[in-house]
Symmetry: C2
Subunit: 160 residues, 2 copies
DNA sequence: TCCCGATAGATGCAAATGCATCTACATTGG
DNA sequence: CCAATGTAGATGCATTTGCATCTATCGGGA
């Protein structure tokens, strides 16, 4: 039963990750070089986007950091820049004297929407011709499952 | 037929991309904070890895740049650093006086293997509990299809 | 053949990033 | 209640990154 094409689980996992990673790189490359991100870098937009999705409107710096591939210090300074540009506002966390709460300003919300519209258009131009709706749903399901599995395991204290 | 749950193609595409992107961030976060990348940054390892896969052993800087999410100038300097560390060797391209060919040195090949072993182990520890083999294969198929669709469309001259 | 635009890669310089560390507040165990 | 340990975020500083630009070569058309 051990045919030549039998791949080990380890190898399969590595190849799957590589394919996922390269696809992300290829899509991201196209997206970030488009005109949508002239005013704001992708990471900066991503922070505005995450804030725009937050039900309460306020988010801890801390929580933001989970979403973004940035070190804590880089995020701290990125937010500092956004604040200087008047796109987000800070407020000391009421229940935790160490914490900082963030929310979009009106200007920030507007810029997020403006970039978001264009961004979504760019995304669909790449995804729609590539995968059928059923395939997109399956891809979404698989990546969501992968993510939720990661969230559950011991998250270590290290969050570079 | 227009039920409330009917999503527009544009929305589906955007949500699919977001799920893919977040999964990539979550996995990458875990991988890069592990001990495998103490000696080399992920992007640096990725260059060594790509070179190790190259059949001829030699690769144009140019081609390398397609694989990596880095600007041309950043890649140029990254390679410069790798060369200083003795991990890769440069050679002027024989057929094109502008070009540069790259290959791994023995030391580079060894370091790539060393890190690669650990890296592959880390990947499988994340992927295996998250997705069944069949799901991994499907994820690989979908991401490969997405990537190949992107490669075909007009690649613009812009390659930041 | 000789321009002229395009392409490969390098470089100056400003901006962004990460690591290590620091401060302030929180929480827990005695 | 207090000391000890942990966590949130900011900051100094060196490294890395990207944009704009530069040089050198290639390739196509008059």
């Amino acid at each position: 039963m051990a045919g030549k094409s039998a791949e080990s689980p380890v190898r399969l996992a590595a190849e799957t990750w590589e394919s996922l990673f390269r696809a992300q790189v290829a899509v991201m490359r196209k997206l970030q070089s488009g005109p949508a991100f002239r005013k704001l870098a992708v990471n900066e937009y991503d922070v505005l986007f995450t804030l725009s999705r937050c039900p309460s409107g306020w988010l801890r710096l801390n929580e933001l950091n989970d979403n973004v591939l940035l070190s804590q210090s880089s995020l701290s300074r990125l937010v500092e820049r956004l604040e200087k540009r008047g796109l987000v506002a800070r407020m000391p966390a009421p229940e935790d004297g160490r914490g900082v709460l963030l929310k979009l300003t009106d200007e920030g919300r507007e810029l997020q929407k403006e970039i978001g519209r264009e961004h979504v258009r760019d995304i669909s131009e790449l995804m729609v011709p590539a995968l059928t709706p059923a395939e997109q749903k399956e891809l979404m399901r698989l990546t969501a499952k992968l993510r939720s599995s990661l969230d559950q395991r011991q998250p270590r204290q290290d969050s570079r």
